[in-house]
Protein backbone atom coordinates (compact mmCIF):
# COMPACT_ATOMS: atom_id res chain seq x y z
CA UNK A 1 0.00 0.00 0.00
CA UNK A 2 2.74 2.47 0.94
CA UNK A 3 4.45 1.89 -2.42
CA UNK A 4 1.46 3.06 -4.49
CA UNK A 5 1.07 6.12 -2.27
CA UNK A 6 4.74 6.92 -2.75
CA UNK A 7 4.45 6.48 -6.52
CA UNK A 8 1.29 8.61 -6.62
CA UNK A 9 2.91 11.30 -4.50
CA UNK A 10 6.06 11.31 -6.59
CA UNK A 11 4.29 11.49 -9.94
CA UNK A 12 1.76 14.07 -8.79
CA UNK A 13 4.30 16.42 -7.24
CA UNK A 14 6.67 16.10 -10.17
CA UNK A 15 3.80 16.84 -12.55
CA UNK A 16 2.76 19.78 -10.41
CA UNK A 17 6.30 21.12 -10.63
CA UNK A 18 6.11 21.17 -14.44
CA UNK A 19 2.68 22.80 -14.35
CA UNK A 20 4.06 25.53 -12.09
CA UNK A 21 7.02 25.97 -14.42
CA UNK A 22 4.61 26.34 -17.35
CA UNK A 23 2.62 29.03 -15.54
CA UNK A 24 5.75 30.88 -14.48
CA UNK A 25 6.76 30.75 -18.14
CA UNK A 26 3.37 32.14 -19.21
CA UNK A 27 3.69 35.05 -16.79
CA UNK A 28 7.37 35.89 -17.01
CA UNK A 29 8.31 35.40 -20.66
CA UNK A 30 8.62 38.61 -22.69
CA UNK A 31 6.47 37.81 -25.73
CA UNK A 32 3.74 35.52 -26.99
CA UNK A 33 5.95 33.06 -28.82
CA UNK A 34 8.08 32.17 -25.82
CA UNK A 35 4.93 31.81 -23.71
CA UNK A 36 3.29 29.51 -26.26
CA UNK A 37 6.54 27.56 -26.28
CA UNK A 38 6.46 27.17 -22.51
CA UNK A 39 2.83 26.10 -22.44
CA UNK A 40 2.95 23.53 -25.19
CA UNK A 41 5.94 21.76 -23.66
CA UNK A 42 5.93 22.04 -19.92
CA UNK A 43 2.17 22.05 -19.42
CA UNK A 44 1.63 18.91 -21.47
CA UNK A 45 4.32 17.04 -19.54
CA UNK A 46 3.05 18.27 -16.18
CA UNK A 47 -0.47 17.20 -17.06
CA UNK A 48 0.77 13.81 -18.25
CA UNK A 49 2.56 13.06 -15.00
CA UNK A 50 -0.39 14.10 -12.83
CA UNK A 51 -2.75 12.01 -14.99
CA UNK A 52 -0.38 9.07 -14.51
CA UNK A 53 -0.53 9.64 -10.77
CA UNK A 54 -4.33 9.65 -10.91
CA UNK A 55 -4.32 6.45 -12.97
CA UNK A 56 -2.05 4.71 -10.46
CA UNK A 57 -4.15 5.92 -7.55
CA UNK A 58 -7.38 4.73 -9.19
CA UNK A 59 -6.13 1.20 -9.72
CA UNK A 60 -9.10 0.24 -11.94
CA UNK A 61 -8.41 -0.63 -15.59
CA UNK A 62 -11.41 1.25 -16.99
CA UNK A 63 -10.35 4.53 -15.41
CA UNK A 64 -6.74 4.02 -16.52
CA UNK A 65 -7.83 3.42 -20.12
CA UNK A 66 -9.89 6.60 -20.15
CA UNK A 67 -7.01 8.54 -18.63
CA UNK A 68 -4.68 7.06 -21.24
CA UNK A 69 -6.98 8.24 -24.04
CA UNK A 70 -7.27 11.63 -22.39
CA UNK A 71 -3.50 12.01 -22.17
CA UNK A 72 -2.97 10.82 -25.76
CA UNK A 73 -5.55 13.38 -26.94
CA UNK A 74 -3.98 16.20 -24.98
CA UNK A 75 -0.52 15.18 -26.12
CA UNK A 76 -1.72 15.80 -29.69
CA UNK A 77 -3.95 18.83 -29.24
CA UNK A 78 -2.18 21.01 -26.67
CA UNK A 79 0.91 21.72 -28.81
CA UNK A 80 -1.29 22.21 -31.87
CA UNK A 81 -3.44 24.74 -30.03
CA UNK A 82 -0.28 26.65 -29.07
CA UNK A 83 0.89 26.39 -32.70
CA UNK A 84 -2.38 27.80 -34.01
CA UNK A 85 -2.18 30.69 -31.55
CA UNK A 86 1.42 31.49 -32.47
CA UNK A 87 0.63 31.29 -36.18
CA UNK A 88 -2.41 33.51 -35.86
CA UNK A 89 -0.26 35.99 -33.96
CA UNK A 90 2.54 35.97 -36.54
CA UNK A 91 0.00 36.49 -39.33
CA UNK A 92 -1.31 39.42 -37.33
CA UNK A 93 2.14 40.92 -37.23
CA UNK A 94 2.98 40.38 -33.57
CA UNK A 95 6.75 40.80 -33.55
CA UNK A 96 8.97 38.50 -31.53
CA UNK A 97 10.88 40.06 -28.65
CA UNK A 98 14.53 40.96 -29.32
CA UNK A 99 17.18 42.32 -27.00
CA UNK A 100 17.20 46.01 -28.11
CA UNK A 101 20.50 47.09 -29.75
CA UNK A 102 21.94 49.32 -26.97
CA UNK A 103 21.43 46.59 -24.39
CA UNK A 104 23.18 44.14 -26.69
CA UNK A 105 26.27 46.41 -27.01
CA UNK A 106 26.52 46.85 -23.24
CA UNK A 107 26.28 43.11 -22.81
CA UNK A 108 29.06 42.57 -25.36
CA UNK A 109 31.29 45.13 -23.61
CA UNK A 110 30.79 43.50 -20.23
CA UNK A 111 31.60 40.11 -21.74
CA UNK A 112 34.80 41.45 -23.40
CA UNK A 113 36.39 42.85 -20.23
CA UNK A 114 35.52 39.81 -18.07
Amino acid sequence: MALTTAVVAGLALFGLLFAVVAVVGVLRFPDLYTRAHAVSKSDTLGVGLVLAAAAVASGSVGVTLKILFLFAFMLVTSPIAAHVLARSASLDGVEAWQVDPEEREEREETEDDQ
Partner: protein
Protein backbone atom coordinates in the same frame (compact mmCIF):
# COMPACT_ATOMS: atom_id res chain seq x y z
CA UNK B 1 -10.45 18.40 5.16
CA UNK B 2 -8.76 18.48 1.76
CA UNK B 3 -12.16 18.20 0.03
CA UNK B 4 -13.33 21.28 1.95
CA UNK B 5 -10.14 23.13 1.00
CA UNK B 6 -10.73 22.30 -2.66
CA UNK B 7 -14.35 23.49 -2.45
CA UNK B 8 -13.42 26.77 -0.78
CA UNK B 9 -10.60 27.57 -3.24
CA UNK B 10 -12.91 26.80 -6.16
CA UNK B 11 -15.68 29.01 -4.80
CA UNK B 12 -13.08 31.71 -4.17
CA UNK B 13 -11.80 31.48 -7.73
CA UNK B 14 -15.41 31.55 -8.97
CA UNK B 15 -16.04 34.87 -7.21
CA UNK B 16 -12.63 36.19 -8.33
CA UNK B 17 -13.26 35.45 -12.01
CA UNK B 18 -16.80 36.89 -11.82
CA UNK B 19 -15.49 40.06 -10.15
CA UNK B 20 -12.67 40.35 -12.68
CA UNK B 21 -15.18 40.07 -15.54
CA UNK B 22 -17.12 42.90 -13.95
CA UNK B 23 -14.26 45.34 -13.51
CA UNK B 24 -12.31 44.80 -16.75
CA UNK B 25 -13.32 47.49 -19.24
CA UNK B 26 -12.13 45.77 -22.41
CA UNK B 27 -14.93 43.49 -23.55
CA UNK B 28 -12.74 40.82 -25.12
CA UNK B 29 -10.59 40.43 -21.99
CA UNK B 30 -13.81 40.22 -19.95
CA UNK B 31 -15.10 37.47 -22.25
CA UNK B 32 -11.88 35.50 -21.88
CA UNK B 33 -12.10 35.74 -18.10
CA UNK B 34 -15.76 34.69 -18.40
CA UNK B 35 -14.57 31.56 -20.25
CA UNK B 36 -12.34 30.76 -17.25
CA UNK B 37 -15.36 31.45 -14.99
CA UNK B 38 -17.32 28.81 -16.90
CA UNK B 39 -14.46 26.31 -16.44
CA UNK B 40 -14.40 26.87 -12.67
CA UNK B 41 -18.19 26.68 -12.49
CA UNK B 42 -18.14 23.26 -14.12
CA UNK B 43 -15.75 22.12 -11.40
CA UNK B 44 -18.13 23.45 -8.73
CA UNK B 45 -20.94 21.39 -10.25
CA UNK B 46 -18.73 18.31 -10.02
CA UNK B 47 -18.02 18.95 -6.36
CA UNK B 48 -21.77 19.33 -5.79
CA UNK B 49 -22.16 15.85 -7.38
CA UNK B 50 -24.08 17.11 -10.42
CA UNK B 51 -22.38 15.40 -13.41
CA UNK B 52 -25.15 16.19 -15.90
CA UNK B 53 -25.08 19.89 -15.04
CA UNK B 54 -21.26 19.92 -15.18
CA UNK B 55 -21.33 18.28 -18.60
CA UNK B 56 -23.89 20.80 -19.88
CA UNK B 57 -21.88 23.70 -18.47
CA UNK B 58 -18.79 22.28 -20.20
CA UNK B 59 -20.59 21.90 -23.53
CA UNK B 60 -22.19 25.35 -23.26
CA UNK B 61 -19.31 27.28 -21.76
CA UNK B 62 -16.45 26.03 -23.90
CA UNK B 63 -18.48 24.98 -26.92
CA UNK B 64 -21.11 27.60 -27.69
CA UNK B 65 -21.21 30.77 -25.61
CA UNK B 66 -17.53 31.72 -25.69
CA UNK B 67 -17.20 31.16 -29.45
CA UNK B 68 -20.36 33.19 -30.16
CA UNK B 69 -19.32 36.01 -27.82
CA UNK B 70 -15.87 36.31 -29.37
CA UNK B 71 -17.40 36.09 -32.86
CA UNK B 72 -19.74 39.00 -32.11
CA UNK B 73 -16.98 41.04 -30.50
CA UNK B 74 -14.59 40.51 -33.41
CA UNK B 75 -17.32 41.56 -35.82
CA UNK B 76 -18.58 44.61 -33.99
CA UNK B 77 -16.19 46.59 -31.89
CA UNK B 78 -12.46 47.26 -32.09
CA UNK B 79 -11.43 46.35 -28.55
CA UNK B 80 -8.62 48.34 -26.92
CA UNK B 81 -5.56 46.28 -26.21
CA UNK B 82 -4.78 47.69 -22.79
CA UNK B 83 -7.31 46.34 -20.29
CA UNK B 84 -7.73 48.80 -17.48
CA UNK B 85 -10.03 48.29 -14.54
CA UNK B 86 -12.87 50.60 -13.67
CA UNK B 87 -15.47 50.37 -10.93
CA UNK B 88 -18.77 52.26 -10.86
CA UNK B 89 -19.12 52.84 -7.12
CA UNK B 90 -22.75 54.03 -6.99
CA UNK B 91 -24.17 50.92 -8.69
CA UNK B 92 -21.83 48.76 -6.60
CA UNK B 93 -23.26 50.33 -3.44
CA UNK B 94 -26.87 49.75 -4.49
CA UNK B 95 -26.15 46.13 -5.42
CA UNK B 96 -24.19 45.65 -2.21
CA UNK B 97 -27.25 46.68 -0.19
CA UNK B 98 -29.36 44.30 -2.28
CA UNK B 99 -26.90 41.42 -1.64
CA UNK B 100 -26.68 42.07 2.11
CA UNK B 101 -30.48 42.12 2.22
CA UNK B 102 -30.62 38.64 0.72
CA UNK B 103 -27.80 37.25 2.85
CA UNK B 104 -29.69 38.20 5.99
CA UNK B 105 -32.46 35.81 4.92
CA UNK B 106 -30.08 32.85 4.53
CA UNK B 107 -30.25 31.61 8.17
CA UNK B 108 -33.85 30.59 7.51
CA UNK B 109 -32.65 28.05 4.94
CA UNK B 110 -31.59 24.55 6.06
CA UNK B 111 -27.84 24.04 6.29
CA UNK B 112 -26.19 22.84 3.07
CA UNK B 113 -26.22 19.07 2.68
CA UNK B 114 -28.47 18.55 5.69
CA UNK B 115 -30.20 15.16 5.09
CA UNK B 116 -33.26 16.23 7.06
CA UNK B 117 -33.86 19.16 4.71
CA UNK B 118 -37.30 19.02 3.06
CA UNK B 119 -35.82 18.56 -0.43
CA UNK B 120 -34.64 15.08 0.52
CA UNK B 121 -37.98 14.09 2.02
CA UNK B 122 -41.01 14.13 -0.25
CA UNK B 123 -40.77 14.18 -4.02
CA UNK B 124 -37.02 13.66 -4.22
CA UNK B 125 -37.09 10.27 -2.54
CA UNK B 126 -40.02 9.14 -4.71
CA UNK B 127 -38.01 9.63 -7.88
CA UNK B 128 -34.86 8.14 -6.38
CA UNK B 129 -36.69 4.94 -5.48
CA UNK B 130 -39.16 4.42 -8.31
CA UNK B 131 -37.47 6.03 -11.35
CA UNK B 132 -34.87 3.33 -12.12
CA UNK B 133 -37.45 0.55 -11.77
CA UNK B 134 -40.25 2.33 -13.66
CA UNK B 135 -38.20 3.67 -16.55
CA UNK B 136 -35.47 1.07 -16.68
CA UNK B 137 -32.90 3.89 -16.97
CA UNK B 138 -30.13 4.23 -14.40
CA UNK B 139 -29.46 7.97 -14.88
CA UNK B 140 -32.33 9.34 -12.77
CA UNK B 141 -31.83 12.90 -14.07
CA UNK B 142 -32.35 11.74 -17.66
CA UNK B 143 -35.29 9.61 -16.53
CA UNK B 144 -37.04 12.62 -14.98
CA UNK B 145 -36.04 14.87 -17.86
CA UNK B 146 -37.27 12.64 -20.69
CA UNK B 147 -39.98 10.54 -19.05
CA UNK B 148 -41.72 12.23 -16.14
CA UNK B 149 -41.21 15.76 -17.51
CA UNK B 150 -41.15 14.76 -21.18
CA UNK B 151 -43.62 17.50 -22.14
CA UNK B 152 -41.39 20.14 -20.55
CA UNK B 153 -38.33 18.79 -22.37
CA UNK B 154 -40.38 18.88 -25.58
CA UNK B 155 -40.99 22.57 -24.83
CA UNK B 156 -37.24 23.01 -24.32
CA UNK B 157 -36.52 21.50 -27.76
CA UNK B 158 -38.98 23.91 -29.33
CA UNK B 159 -37.29 26.81 -27.47
CA UNK B 160 -33.92 25.84 -28.93
CA UNK B 161 -35.49 25.48 -32.37
CA UNK B 162 -37.15 28.87 -31.98
CA UNK B 163 -33.84 30.45 -30.98
CA UNK B 164 -32.24 29.25 -34.20
CA UNK B 165 -35.10 30.61 -36.28
CA UNK B 166 -35.10 33.84 -34.27
CA UNK B 167 -31.41 34.38 -34.89
CA UNK B 168 -31.86 33.87 -38.63
CA UNK B 169 -34.77 36.30 -38.72
CA UNK B 170 -32.83 38.91 -36.76
CA UNK B 171 -29.77 38.59 -38.95
CA UNK B 172 -31.78 38.62 -42.18
CA UNK B 173 -32.49 42.31 -41.54
CA UNK B 174 -28.80 43.05 -41.95
CA UNK B 175 -28.52 41.09 -45.15
CA UNK B 176 -26.78 38.05 -43.72
CA UNK B 177 -28.32 34.79 -44.77
CA UNK B 178 -27.14 31.22 -44.57
CA UNK B 179 -27.06 30.91 -48.36
CA UNK B 180 -23.60 29.69 -49.41
CA UNK B 181 -22.42 31.98 -52.20
CA UNK B 182 -22.68 29.74 -55.21
CA UNK B 183 -19.77 29.67 -57.64
CA UNK B 184 -16.45 31.38 -57.09
CA UNK B 185 -17.52 35.02 -57.30
CA UNK B 186 -14.68 37.06 -55.89
CA UNK B 187 -15.73 37.77 -52.35
CA UNK B 188 -15.14 41.51 -52.23
CA UNK B 189 -13.36 44.07 -54.27
CA UNK B 190 -11.42 44.99 -51.16
CA UNK B 191 -7.77 44.39 -52.19
CA UNK B 192 -6.96 43.33 -48.67
CA UNK B 193 -8.91 40.08 -49.00
CA UNK B 194 -7.85 37.98 -51.98
CA UNK B 195 -10.94 36.69 -53.74
CA UNK B 196 -11.62 33.12 -52.66
CA UNK B 197 -11.18 31.37 -55.97
CA UNK B 198 -12.52 27.90 -55.55
CA UNK B 199 -11.05 25.36 -57.98
CA UNK B 200 -13.43 23.23 -60.03
CA UNK B 201 -13.14 20.23 -57.70
CA UNK B 202 -14.44 22.36 -54.86
CA UNK B 203 -11.17 22.57 -52.88
CA UNK B 204 -10.75 26.31 -52.55
CA UNK B 205 -7.11 27.30 -53.15
CA UNK B 206 -7.20 30.01 -50.50
CA UNK B 207 -9.81 29.56 -47.83
CA UNK B 208 -12.49 32.19 -47.62
CA UNK B 209 -10.67 33.43 -44.53
CA UNK B 210 -8.09 34.73 -46.97
CA UNK B 211 -5.33 32.72 -45.36
CA UNK B 212 -3.92 29.35 -46.18
CA UNK B 213 -4.61 27.01 -43.19
CA UNK B 214 -1.38 25.53 -41.96
CA UNK B 215 -0.82 21.91 -42.89
CA UNK B 216 -0.39 21.03 -39.22
CA UNK B 217 -3.88 22.20 -38.36
CA UNK B 218 -5.66 20.54 -41.26
CA UNK B 219 -3.98 17.17 -40.79
CA UNK B 220 -4.52 17.32 -37.02
CA UNK B 221 -8.18 18.16 -37.56
CA UNK B 222 -8.51 15.41 -40.13
CA UNK B 223 -7.47 12.84 -37.48
CA UNK B 224 -9.27 14.38 -34.53
CA UNK B 225 -12.73 15.11 -35.98
CA UNK B 226 -13.89 11.46 -36.07
CA UNK B 227 -13.05 11.08 -32.35
CA UNK B 228 -14.87 14.27 -31.41
CA UNK B 229 -17.95 13.31 -33.44
CA UNK B 230 -17.91 9.74 -32.10
CA UNK B 231 -17.59 10.93 -28.52
CA UNK B 232 -20.46 13.38 -29.04
CA UNK B 233 -22.66 10.54 -30.29
CA UNK B 234 -21.54 8.39 -27.34
CA UNK B 235 -22.68 11.08 -24.90
CA UNK B 236 -26.01 11.48 -26.72
CA UNK B 237 -26.65 7.72 -26.91
CA UNK B 238 -25.36 6.87 -23.46
CA UNK B 239 -27.32 9.61 -21.70
CA UNK B 240 -29.55 7.00 -20.11
CA UNK B 241 -26.80 5.02 -18.37
CA UNK B 242 -24.19 7.61 -17.38
CA UNK B 243 -24.09 11.37 -17.17
CA UNK B 244 -24.88 12.85 -20.56
CA UNK B 245 -27.81 13.31 -22.84
CA UNK B 246 -29.08 14.66 -26.09
CA UNK B 247 -28.22 18.28 -25.49
CA UNK B 248 -24.59 17.81 -24.42
CA UNK B 249 -23.98 15.20 -27.12
CA UNK B 250 -25.49 17.49 -29.75
CA UNK B 251 -23.16 20.33 -28.81
CA UNK B 252 -20.07 18.10 -29.01
CA UNK B 253 -21.12 16.76 -32.43
CA UNK B 254 -21.69 20.36 -33.58
CA UNK B 255 -18.22 21.23 -32.27
CA UNK B 256 -16.75 18.50 -34.49
CA UNK B 257 -18.42 20.10 -37.54
CA UNK B 258 -17.08 23.49 -36.42
CA UNK B 259 -13.63 21.90 -36.40
CA UNK B 260 -14.18 20.72 -39.96
CA UNK B 261 -15.36 24.22 -40.88
CA UNK B 262 -12.17 25.77 -39.53
CA UNK B 263 -9.91 23.09 -40.86
CA UNK B 264 -11.17 23.09 -44.43
CA UNK B 265 -12.76 26.48 -44.86
CA UNK B 266 -16.18 27.66 -43.81
CA UNK B 267 -17.24 28.02 -47.43
CA UNK B 268 -16.72 24.40 -48.42
CA UNK B 269 -18.29 23.17 -45.18
CA UNK B 270 -21.36 25.25 -45.82
CA UNK B 271 -21.64 23.87 -49.30
CA UNK B 272 -21.33 20.35 -47.87
CA UNK B 273 -23.77 21.15 -45.06
CA UNK B 274 -26.11 23.26 -47.14
CA UNK B 275 -29.53 24.43 -46.05
CA UNK B 276 -31.42 21.24 -46.80
CA UNK B 277 -29.12 19.19 -44.55
CA UNK B 278 -29.28 21.76 -41.73
CA UNK B 279 -33.07 22.06 -41.83
CA UNK B 280 -33.37 18.27 -42.10
CA UNK B 281 -31.35 17.76 -38.91
CA UNK B 282 -33.03 20.46 -36.84
CA UNK B 283 -36.61 19.90 -38.01
CA UNK B 284 -36.05 16.13 -37.98
CA UNK B 285 -35.15 16.19 -34.28
CA UNK B 286 -38.25 18.14 -33.30
CA UNK B 287 -40.38 16.01 -35.67
CA UNK B 288 -39.06 12.83 -34.01
CA UNK B 289 -40.12 14.02 -30.57
CA UNK B 290 -43.54 15.09 -31.89
CA UNK B 291 -43.96 11.75 -33.69
CA UNK B 292 -43.24 9.79 -30.50
CA UNK B 293 -45.69 11.99 -28.61
CA UNK B 294 -48.49 11.78 -31.17
CA UNK B 295 -47.88 8.07 -31.65
CA UNK B 296 -48.62 7.57 -27.96
CA UNK B 297 -51.85 9.55 -28.35
CA UNK B 298 -52.77 7.50 -31.43
CA UNK B 299 -52.46 4.35 -29.33
CA UNK B 300 -54.88 5.76 -26.79
CA UNK B 301 -52.40 7.17 -24.29
CA UNK B 302 -51.61 10.79 -23.53
CA UNK B 303 -49.00 12.91 -25.36
CA UNK B 304 -45.51 11.39 -24.87
CA UNK B 305 -46.81 8.53 -22.68
CA UNK B 306 -44.34 5.82 -23.60
CA UNK B 307 -45.91 2.95 -21.67
CA UNK B 308 -48.74 2.79 -24.22
CA UNK B 309 -46.40 1.49 -26.93
CA UNK B 310 -46.71 -2.32 -27.28
CA UNK B 311 -42.94 -2.99 -27.40
CA UNK B 312 -41.26 -4.24 -24.19
CA UNK B 313 -39.24 -1.64 -22.19
CA UNK B 314 -41.10 1.07 -24.12
CA UNK B 315 -40.14 3.81 -21.67
CA UNK B 316 -36.41 3.17 -21.98
CA UNK B 317 -36.52 3.30 -25.76
CA UNK B 318 -38.87 6.29 -25.59
CA UNK B 319 -36.39 8.18 -23.42
CA UNK B 320 -33.41 7.33 -25.61
CA UNK B 321 -35.25 8.29 -28.82
CA UNK B 322 -36.36 11.61 -27.35
CA UNK B 323 -32.78 12.26 -26.23
CA UNK B 324 -31.57 11.58 -29.78
CA UNK B 325 -34.24 13.93 -31.13
CA UNK B 326 -32.92 16.64 -28.81
CA UNK B 327 -29.34 15.82 -29.87
CA UNK B 328 -30.16 16.19 -33.56
CA UNK B 329 -31.99 19.49 -33.03
CA UNK B 330 -29.24 20.94 -30.84
CA UNK B 331 -26.53 19.93 -33.34
CA UNK B 332 -28.43 21.65 -36.15
CA UNK B 333 -29.19 24.76 -34.12
CA UNK B 334 -25.63 25.20 -32.81
CA UNK B 335 -24.44 24.96 -36.41
CA UNK B 336 -27.05 27.58 -37.39
CA UNK B 337 -25.72 29.81 -34.59
CA UNK B 338 -22.19 29.25 -35.81
CA UNK B 339 -22.82 29.73 -39.52
CA UNK B 340 -25.07 32.74 -38.98
CA UNK B 341 -22.85 34.65 -36.55
CA UNK B 342 -19.42 33.40 -37.52
CA UNK B 343 -19.89 31.96 -40.94
CA UNK B 344 -20.45 34.94 -43.22
CA UNK B 345 -16.72 35.34 -43.76
CA UNK B 346 -17.09 36.81 -47.23
CA UNK B 347 -18.48 40.14 -46.12
CA UNK B 348 -16.19 41.52 -43.41
CA UNK B 349 -18.36 43.81 -41.30
CA UNK B 350 -16.90 46.98 -42.81
CA UNK B 351 -18.57 46.54 -46.16
CA UNK B 352 -22.06 45.36 -45.56
CA UNK B 353 -23.42 48.22 -43.45
CA UNK B 354 -23.70 51.64 -45.12
CA UNK B 355 -23.68 53.58 -41.84
CA UNK B 356 -20.56 51.90 -40.49
CA UNK B 357 -17.85 54.53 -40.04
CA UNK B 358 -14.20 53.55 -40.05
CA UNK B 359 -13.22 54.30 -36.43
CA UNK B 360 -16.32 52.74 -34.89
CA UNK B 361 -16.10 52.29 -31.12
Amino acid sequence: MSALALELTLLGLLVLTAALTAVIRDVLAATVVFAVYSLVLSLVWILLRAPDVALTEAAVGAGVVTVLLVATIAKTSRPTDHAELSVRWPSLAVIGVFAVGIVTTLPSLPAIGDPTAPIHQHLGTYYLETAPAETGVSNIVTAILAAYRAFDTFGEVVVVFGAGIGLLVVLRQSGITLQPTTGSTPSTTDPGLEPSTTDPHGESSTTDLGREPSVITTTAIRYIVPFVALFGLYIAFHGAKTAGGGFQGGVVVAASVVLVAFGFGIESTRRWLNDTVLTAITAGGVAAVVAIGLGAMALGGRFLEYTVYPIPKATTYGIELVELGIGATVTGIVLVFFFALVGNAETPPGESSPTHTEESK
